[in-house]
């Protein structure tokens, strides 16, 4: 029992620590070019699609499954818009410190999610969706939008923010249901 509790605690700590370090990143505000901002936007959305795909394979909970399907559809729509815009602008997304950190954290999260099943998986996936969306909203609103130079890129990021807030609210709603 103690071992199981410790394993759960350790997994949550890994997910939480990895993701919660994002606000610190936002506070340091590294200066990003539009090409780097595009890279962060595409990477952040792709990570959530990958997590949704894991959830679609593993969950038996109808609410969690519906949420995962929505995440996959919506974040794909955002990527499509971002790719269309950078193609139009002739900008090639460029790796940077934030996109690399996102990918490194995502690898740990995926590993933790793969190690869980049943209710424990549902809880880990939804908990991560809450912390991940909080972190991404922070980066989008405090780093990407203020630093975007191109007007169309800035407008795209501004239109993405309400989508992220809606996802966060939805994830928090499921989180409360799971706790019950």
């Amino acid at each position: 029992m103690k071992i199981k509790f410790f394993a759960n605690w350790a997994a949550h700590t890994i997910i939480g620590a990895a993701i919660l370090s994002m606000p610190a990143f936002a506070q340091q505000s590294p200066q990003l070019s539009d090409a780097e901002i595009a890279s962060v936007a595409v990477t952040a959305n792709q990570i959530d699609i990958n997590n949704a795909n894991i959830a679609k394979q593993k969950t038996r909970n109808e609410e969690v499954l519906k949420f995962a399907q929505t995440m996959a559809t919506d974040h794909k729509a955002v990527i499509d818009q971002a790719v269309a815009l950078v193609t139009k602008l002739g900008v090639t997304p460029k790796d940077n410190a934030i996109s690399k950190k996102l990918l490194a954290d995502a690898a740990q999260t995926e590993k933790a999610l793969h190690s869980k099943n049943g209710d424990a998986f549902n809880k880990a996936y939804i908990d991560n969706e809450v912390t991940y969306h909080q972190a991404v909203i922070n980066v989008v609103e405090n780093v990407l939008i203020p630093q975007a130079q191109n007007k169309q890129l800035k407008e795209l990021l501004q239109s993405v923010a309400p989508v992220l807030h809606s996802h966060l609210e939805h994830a928090q709603m499921i989180q409360k249901q799971i706790v019950k």
């Binding site: 993405v160 989508v163 939805h170 709603m173």
Partner: protein, 114 residues
């Protein structure tokens, strides 16, 4: 003199008939149904609360980059099905209803039929 009085009386008579016809027509004819627009933007129904008359039509237009739907909330008695970006869906309204987006369940709206 008599002929003038006749003309005057006939005119008044016709005026009364026209007035009567007008009253009957306006009582029997229904008001022309109106069309109302609800815009879906920034993950919200705008306006979220709408008051209409029985038989009016409400059209929803999706301005967001993600698909939405419009679904009656309590018993799921009607739904638009998935509404892709830049698409619209409309229906005549006969009953008040709370509705939501079943894809993004935090998005809610209400139609009140007077």
């Amino acid at each position: 003199m008599k002929s003038r009085w006749h003309q005057y009386r006939n005119s008044i008579g016709w005026l009364y008939i026209l007035l009567l016809l007008n009253i009957i027509t306006s009582c029997t004819q229904k008001k022309t149904p109106k069309m109302y627009i609800v815009e879906i933007k920034q993950m919200q129904f705008q306006p979220a609360d709408l008051t209409v008359q029985d038989g009016d039509t409400v059209a929803w237009i999706n301005h967001d980059m993600v698909p939405h739907d419009i679904t009656e909330e309590k018993s799921k008695s009607w739904t638009s099905g998935p509404l892709l970006p830049n698409k619209s869906w409309s229906m005549p309204v006969t009953k008040s209803a709370d509705y939501y987006c079943s894809i993004h369940v935090v998005m809610k709206g209400r139609i009140t039929v007077q």
